[in-house]
């Protein structure tokens, strides 16, 4: 039943929905970045690896943002558009509804990964960066997108209005993304703790250690504890508390 709901949600998102428009905007951003990097004649060998890393990081940040936007709209948006009653009247378990919506939101991230591949191929050729970059985006990015997309879905279930749900999701992303822009954060004791507990910060750190510093995949594996934990925890909450969250009115009663 979850598969049926996920399929229907995917059709709503990708056929005539917002999905293609959001991914088109995402591709324009990556095109601008790739063009600027490719026309930079002063770029040296290492900076080209950094350009691959930057592309993965931007793809991860923007792709997760789009996933959160889709998931934060999933329940509160349907409530506001008046389409949620019809969905609740169908003979489908409520757990299947919320899990199906989470799966559909995650397809936004997977679409972003597919769109990113040609850009990574252009930037990473010759510096052995294409394969690892795609694999990192797929594995690490999917963990972060599932975790934060799930949080967006919980916001959507608990918020009275779509605006509140979207604002909550965007604020969460901003709070998590801001520390990653602080210089040399993981090099201090407190900074390393902040990086490790932040799913976006730890994921970006792990990716850059492999793509730029050429570290072994297992060297900084402990940095993935936060993305893995949040993805598992949020998915667990969605599955367990799902039936109580999928309601016509917001909140747990």
């Amino acid at each position: 039943m979850t598969r049926v709901i996920a399929g229907q949600e995917c059709r709503d998102l990708w056929i005539g929905g917002r999905g293609p428009v959001l991914v088109f905007g995402f591709s324009v951003l990556l095109s601008a970045m790739t063009y600027l990097a490719a026309t930079n004649r002063a770029m040296n060998f290492l900076e080209q690896r950094e350009a691959v890393n930057l592309t993965v990081q931007v793809a991860l940040a923007v792709g997760v943002l789009l996933t959160v936007v889709v998931s934060a709209d999933a329940i509160s948006g349907e409530r506001e558009r008046g389409t949620f009653e019809a969905l609740l009247l169908t003979p489908v378990p409520r757990r299947a509804i919320i899990v199906g919506k989470l799966i559909a939101a995650t397809t936004m991230w997977l679409a972003c990964v597919v769109v990113t591949i040609p850009y990574l191929w252009v930037l990473g050729r010759g510096v052995a960066g294409v394969g690892p970059a795609v694999l990192l985006a797929l594995t690490v990015g999917t963990l972060v997108a599932t975790g934060l997309g799930g949080i967006g879905l919980l916001f959507s279930a608990g918020a009275n209005s779509n605006k509140t749900s979207l604002a909550g999701g965007l604020l969460l992303l901003l709070v998590l993304f801001a520390p990653t822009q602080l210089p040399a954060l993981p090099k201090t004791g407190v900074g390393e703790v902040i990086t490790r507990i932040n799913p976006i910060g730890s994921a970006l750190h792990y990716v850059s250690q492999i793509l730029v510093s050429q570290r072994n995949w297992t060297h900084d594996l402990s940095y993935l504890a936060s993305p893995v934990l949040i993805a598992l925890l949020v998915t667990g909450v969605v599955i367990v508390a799902g039936p109580r969250l999928v309601r016509l009115t917001a909140g747990l009663k």
Partner: protein
């Protein structure tokens, strides 16, 4: 013994480096060996200088550019990556606890260019991907619009 007299007896530190010349392509990892002979401990430092006026970011070239050197003869191995094309000189400098710096002989490194990022293949991708996605979006919207208008009529 008079400390000043003992200081005069100490021989000058020397540095030998091998090989004398290296050729590489951009991205290749190279190794230079140096032997530092000194009666006093100090710090050996690897330097890279461009002969073509290219800016050299030493951090990009090598992760480890300083090594502690105990007294007597020490063999050091320096690993670095050629990140810029052009002609360069790699040399080791000994910074003793007391006295002036001692520089080793230069190792001439010629790095050949390797085209890894070309605008020729980047521009088609930068244009084709959004164009394809934009076209698919428009086609999807048009088909949806036709279907909706068909249902209404």
């Amino acid at each position: 013994m008079n400390p000043l007299y003992a200081l005069l007896l100490l021989s000058d530190p020397t540095i030998t480096t091998s090989p004398d010349d290296l050729t590489a392509v951009v991205g290749q990892t190279l190794t230079v060996e140096s032997v530092v002979s000194s009666d006093r401990p100090g710090i050996a430092h690897l330097n890279v200088a461009s002969l073509d006026g290219v800016y050299v970011d030493l951090e990009d070239w090598s992760q480890e550019v300083t090594k502690a050197v105990p007294a007597h003869e020490t063999q050091l191995e320096w690993e670095f990556q050629a990140v810029n094309p052009g002609r360069f000189v790699v040399y080791v400098v000994l910074i003793p606890e007391h006295g002036s710096l001692v520089a080793g002989p230069p190792v001439h490194v010629t790095v050949a260019r390797r085209e890894t990022l070309d605008t020729g293949s980047a521009v088609p991708v930068a244009i084709a991907v959004p164009a394809l996605l934009g076209a698919l979006t428009v086609i999807g919207r048009v088909r949806m619009g036709r279907r909706d208008s068909g249902r209404n009529s």
